[in-house]
Symmetry: C2
Subunit: 741 residues, 2 copies
Amino acid sequence: MDASALQLIILPAGIIAVLFAIYLARDVLSRDTGTPEMQAVAGTIFEGAVAFIRRQYTTIGILAIVGAFVIGAIITIFETKAVADTNTFGLDLGWRTGLAFIVGAACSMASGIIGMYISVKANVRTAAAARRSLVEAVQVAMRGGAVSGFLVVALSLLGVYGIFTLFGGLQGGQATHDAPFLIVGFGFGASFVALFAQLGGGIYTKAADVGSDLVGKVEKGIPEDDPRNAGVVADLVGDNVGDCAGRGADLFESTAAENIGAMILGVGVFTIAQAAGWPNPQAWIFFPLVVRAFGLLSTIVAIFFVRGREDENPMNILNRGYWVTTILSVFALFLTTNVMLQTTGAAPSGMPVWLYFFGAGVVGLATSVAFVYITQYYTAGSFRPVREIAEASKTGPATNIISGTAVGFETTFVTAITIGIALFASHWLGSQAGITNEAGHDVGGIFGTAVATMAMLMTTAYILAMDTFGPITDNAGGIAEFSRAEAGAREITDRLDAVGNTTKALTKGYAIASASLAAFLLFSAYIDKVNLILGRQIEAGKEGVTLLTSVNLSNVNVFIAALIGAMLVYFFSSLAIRAVGTTAQAIIVEVRRQFREMPGIMDYSQRPDYARVVDITTKAALREMIAPGVVAVATPIIVGLLLGAEAVAGMLMVGTIAGVMLATVLNNGGGAWDNAKKYIESGHLKDDQGNVLGKGSDAHAAAVVGDTVGDPFKDTAGPSLHVLVKLLATITLVLAPLFIR
Amino acid sequence: MDASALQLIILPAGIIAVLFAIYLARDVLSRDTGTPEMQAVAGTIFEGAVAFIRRQYTTIGILAIVGAFVIGAIITIFETKAVADTNTFGLDLGWRTGLAFIVGAACSMASGIIGMYISVKANVRTAAAARRSLVEAVQVAMRGGAVSGFLVVALSLLGVYGIFTLFGGLQGGQATHDAPFLIVGFGFGASFVALFAQLGGGIYTKAADVGSDLVGKVEKGIPEDDPRNAGVVADLVGDNVGDCAGRGADLFESTAAENIGAMILGVGVFTIAQAAGWPNPQAWIFFPLVVRAFGLLSTIVAIFFVRGREDENPMNILNRGYWVTTILSVFALFLTTNVMLQTTGAAPSGMPVWLYFFGAGVVGLATSVAFVYITQYYTAGSFRPVREIAEASKTGPATNIISGTAVGFETTFVTAITIGIALFASHWLGSQAGITNEAGHDVGGIFGTAVATMAMLMTTAYILAMDTFGPITDNAGGIAEFSRAEAGAREITDRLDAVGNTTKALTKGYAIASASLAAFLLFSAYIDKVNLILGRQIEAGKEGVTLLTSVNLSNVNVFIAALIGAMLVYFFSSLAIRAVGTTAQAIIVEVRRQFREMPGIMDYSQRPDYARVVDITTKAALREMIAPGVVAVATPIIVGLLLGAEAVAGMLMVGTIAGVMLATVLNNGGGAWDNAKKYIESGHLKDDQGNVLGKGSDAHAAAVVGDTVGDPFKDTAGPSLHVLVKLLATITLVLAPLFIR
């Protein structure tokens, strides 16, 4: 098969995925919507979610438009002919970058909004299905989740492809060579939206959760999701806006930024391929798009394998589809590397070059699988870490917190080792291909890492579907509880909810791994960009200029910038966590007020004013997301302006490492605390005499403290750090010219 | 004055400081030892402390002897003529390094043991003095603490000077040039002892604290330090072995390692000075020793200014002495830089060169002052952070923990910015001196940072005296409570205890700042060492070898090593925190057993078996310190062997940054939680109606949870991280030849 024929698959695959998402959406919407009580509460959740999303995306939209103009203006002023990557510069480049930024922002927002819409429609249908069958409930929730998954990945693919085409990517020759550099604005726009979507959603969801629980469960002693609690609808809305819209934006950004980074690295090989006369040099640039297209097609097939027996562990049903996606991806990767990454000679070892890149791709897929299982080990109740925390709860909340912290810290070990092995192996395999540029530097190694990254992203749509499965089943459980559905239905939604906790956690692990690899790719692209500018300065005869051959940590400016990068992740997290506290305080005051002023609530004779709590939470969350957002955007710019281009690269790398580690601690610690509580609730914890310490015991109360502490860690600060890490990468890449004296 | 005349002060100053410590010790020992009840409990504490110290230092001593032989053997095998810094190599260098290691270890152990001995004698005398006068109690505690302070700094100075002299440092010319390289083993030995002293002491103190509180306060409802609690003596012993011996070893290591690092950097200037014919080139090597000698003399004077009024805040009395030390140090620094750092010409600006280094030194002293006040802001009850945590306690333990975490994370901001400014300013001032080596590279900048570091260390003895003031007053309070002393005495010991919490916290801030600067110095020394080896390989005609001109973060091996460095600090902390949990569990079991099997304890008719708990804690703490200790020592060696010399440098730098940030979070978060509890206990927290929420309120219970969580953070993991960071630096420096292929 010819490589250029394979390229033809990109557009159809993207469109098929969108059509498939529409098919799934219609399928979900056509299902039984349950009892009138269920419909009533689902309607309230829907209204609240739409209200938040409308207001949040209006705010983000305005910020994005301002951002686009600012970026466009900066590029116009600073990206002069002397510093541009390509022959497009000044105003010409400025408007293109601004446009790409807006398109990236718009695609991210669109996929977030539509995915959310289906998610808050799928919840009640999952609850209704749970009255009949576990498998049906799993399928409804998973299909609802897959709408998000497909839309995010397909719109990211189509967006990148579209803007690439618009900027001449299909014209061949120099135009194709130049196009990847013109589309980095797309990634920046996606990052920008993701930052605020994740922060706003993360603050909303956990503030509503903590705030309504503290008044309802702790002060009034009524169950979670009890309809008498005025904050309960805000809590259910929060599950959607945080986990669904937030993580969708996060992974939209990952796929877009990594795709663009890989294409820029592909340009390096393209130049070599042209000079060496390899068949179809452009294939090296198109490769990431084609791989992703095949990933989408594999996932479509896999959705039909989400089936099983009624008595089966629901996690197995989901894992079945995941393995189908992975195995099909391996075959697709074999085909793609074989057809597209052809050279005229063999690698130094005598093996064909493409085989090494296929190997690198398999490393990427294996990393994805590894993270799925590592997260399960650390956050699922059946293994040592969660049991350890549950045991520690016997001696009270303090030992619960200490134990959870120790577990959270411990999880960095296997995370760092796995990422390290993935980077080393993919880079080593790539370097064995023996591809070197004019200056004699190896470029195969970093391209190997790019292939691994793209392969890892082949399963994104499926992972994201599993992630959105989480809030849908969580909501379904809430609806069942709220509408006082029959016990059988509640038992099924409880089982699905526990699985949803695990899928949410493993998506975060996956997002962290992909963020690390993405940062390494974009970092290489940043160095290339800086050297291009410096190279032109040298050509122009400017004195004292040398190329940036390394990011030297022993340079004092780089060290200081690295220190600031490591600090930034803590400071940003501090602001995010504090924002949850401030917003929760507003909710507590309002829920208390309603209990006080509407005495009929407790005997069900008065209906609490749910909408008012939703409204207060919305306003507070949007106000509180501004400070951490501004810190995230401003810090790299300030450091770059004060300390220069090399220093900002050091900040980017060390900030990424520090951010990935802290996010791992926060996500896994929070997940383990959550499941330690669930472990106790399921009656697995016993005292010395063998009596069960279940709900209502002191150990359970201690575990609830840990769970509450973990909430803002795992659902606000941790996921926001993923976005921060990628934002650092795209912002420095786009603004590189600013940082060169 | 002549520079060589000034050098003569080193030995007398060290000896005077030791004599002064003996004078202080005799003064303390001659004081009133209080009531028979006080003497009884103090005797028990003394026995327990001696038992632990004997066993701990036996273990550490054995480890150190094994370590010395291993290091000596490795150096003998790998540090061949081709790679040695100097003309001493092979076995000749091996035994010297092993000997230096043993001397460093022995000096560190000696100062720890003697300081501890006086500390556990000063506690009861402080309690006795508190029956009469606040000022007298402050003086007894401070003089007891100063014994540790002077011994640590003086033995570190005399040890470095002695081993430097032994290895030919006073012979002039090439021998003086070579000697600093031969004494790095001294710093490694000190690091090695500090690691285990801090880990063992930190695990002991917090396990005893948490374990005895959980059974006594929580389960039995008896007060803290109540004599009926079998764990209470172990708790009081722990204050000494953790805070006093641990921090002493930590700062012993800081002063030794930074002194040696600064001398190695001085060798670079020495070579330039010889070539340029500056007056007394050797002065650049001796400078760090002379500065420290003056620091000791300044501190001796300052001890006599520790006086004040009875109604004064005790913190003011201590601050008075600190300011005397600092101001005298400025004058001494002026003299020393003016006399010793003379050149023949002026700096490029026309100003004398020494003036820039004086400026750099002032930056160092200012950094020290800044950290003292930053820590007070974040951990003292009168400011926003602690009040915020206290307020959050109103809604329970979960919000207390969330708020404390946010505060802990936030403290990284001002820490990183202050360290960044100190590094930048001292480096910039040094670089203005215009000192360049043969290759045209600036060496003044890094020497400026070295001067700042040495200046910062001038106040170490005073800082350490304030630190040891903490456990002494804490113990005095415990003895007063235990012996049921009169209310007036208890009130005074309570006030001193609160001040002691602050002084302990600020010592940690100071230790962190000095660890960051030390790492940067030792890192430069490491790069010099690696290049020396590589330079000889190039001279010998080995192909493909290039000098290490940078530590390139964009190199995949360096990035992976950096990732492992950042992970190591979390993993190490996880092991340390878990060790506290495991040890505490052993204590809980034993204290419970005594309550159960000795029913007379509760009505005072039976005396609990305190010694048995001390014994169990001792054994468990020593067993549990092994795992984190081995991880700390093994990781840099494994990374160096697998990924090479450049990668290990990346690990060192990023590990340092990550370690400094995490230690800041753990120390300050823990300190703030502790003082939030104290803030509530002093009746400062009020509810909406203005009622005081004091001891016994739910808010207080929540704050106790935060305090307990903070204990292993601030007293085990945080301080152990300081040591880890410096160990990474010394271990890589000593083992550099191993890491070069």
